[in-house]
Amino acid sequence: MTMPTTSPSQTASPPPQPIRPAPARRPRDVGLSRLDMRYSPYLYIAPFFVVFGIFGAYPLLYTAWVALHDWEVGTDNPTFVGLDNFTKILSDSNFWNAVLNTVGIFLISTIPQLLLALVLANALNKRMRGRTLLRMGVLIPNITSVAAVAIVFSQLYSRDFGMINWILHFFGLGPYEWQAYKWSSWIAISTMVDWRWVGYNALIYLAAMQSIPRDIYESAALDGASSSKQFWRITVPLLRPTIIFTVIISTIGGLQLYAEPLLFNGGASALLGGTLRQSQTVTMYLMEQFFSRSEYGDMATVAWLLFLLILIFSAVNFAITSRLESTGKRGGSK
């Protein structure tokens, strides 16, 4: 597979030196060596398949079985109920509230996050001193743990002594009780998510930007294209595969949001996303079935519905990004 690409450079360099003089081989060695070549690969890949088979594939399939049962945590006698769990969950307004929160937070966090990342990457792509240090600076939020981030942000957003309300009061705004309402908790949680992920996505975009040949920009500049025009007409369309990649990754991650809203709310109603479920996400709803209701069956059902939600959104987002990008490409100067 790699032969065609590697062989030209290899023929130019001297053939690899034997590590030690070749020993005279006895027939037994040859037989052993053949056995080694034929069967050892399976031995080397076996750990993955054993671990995944037991702790990945089996649970995945078994989830379907559990979802069809009324199965209480700690008991060993599930009752088969068919699709009852699905009709029950799908008619639970709390489930749909969780879907709304998840999608809402996903949208108001992901769109600014990826746009900011694009702009930041474009800036980082310029020639400047101290690039590694600056890149480290924008990546540092991403290496911080979710729990620590959520704790700091819930303090920054606290009503009475939080930094954010204090800053807003200079503009005659607030004080807001950020946890108390849907819109405000959505915004607060989104800023947490974005703080953590803008820099990471920017580095991904930056990597792709560096592989765009610079002549394209030069000829565009000679044709009189402004730098913002170059950005939207050249950079963004050429980043198409990378943008699709980040959109899909953000979709998968964003729809599974759990730790941020959980720790942001804190206290007794943490798992509910606040007393009125202002910011309960689907994953929190899933865990509620376990911690508050002790229902394996309902938990598995929600897991399936979440998976479905992720599939639908990935497909929709893939379609949207592909279309946006190809219209951009049509208008772009090549």
Partner: protein
Amino acid sequence: VTTVTRTLPRQSSRPPMNKRRRDLFAASPLTFVLIIATVALSIFPLYYMVVVATRSNDAIGTLPPPFTPGGNIADNIGRLLSNENAAFVTGMINSAVISLSLTVSVVFFSTLAGFAFAKLRFAGRNKLMLSILLTMMVPAQLGVVPLYMMMAKLEWANHLQSVIVPFLVNGFGVFMMRQYVSQSVPDELIEAARVDGCSTLRIYWNIVLPALRPAIAVLALFTFMAQWNEFFWASLAMGDPSNPTVQISLQHLSTGYYNDYAQVFAGTVLSILPLLAVFILFGRQIIGGIMEGALKA
């Protein structure tokens, strides 16, 4: 090996063309302002973490909020360490054991499997590789219920096995190592070693592993950080407050002691120290890993 180091000489070795060319890619003042502002916003919450962790609770509950560190850190850490409900020290030790053992195991099994997929010929190779890629696309939440039931049945729940054994190796690591092996180890070298009578295990140990050193560093760093930060599965499997991971300990702290911010923040500061240390020492490799990974995706 990182993109950072690779692109730098390439650009500077180019002869300067005309003035226009230089202007196009030079950072404008606006660019600088944007980047500096982003870096400041990125660092501020971490700085503020330190401010709160070193203050008394009285100082935190004032307006304007404190902007500079104080001298209360020892007191706050003392309260944290003697807080039996959070079991913070246990959490730190548990997370260190989990992260380090998984780093070793993920690197070992991934390089071994990556080597087999990249350089050894066997029936079903491509189909098996494809199935590994497919496993990477399924969200963790989907299998979580039976996995927990399994842990409960094995009586592993709330023991370290429950967060270690299921994650000894993963599709991402195998895929990443397969990519690196096929790029950085020439087929001819393997061929020569084999003619020489080397067993595949010897080839792996003496040729493949040394050539993979940079990639191993990246995978090890990613694995360590991801495991240190893991929250979702641990909140189920290690939910017992007396034997938590560090993240779960933080959760117990923040839900139970929200009026003792200073203590909670002392915990968050201590919990990110290992990450910061890793980042300061290996930031270049981590950035290189993210950027190279992006190009391969």
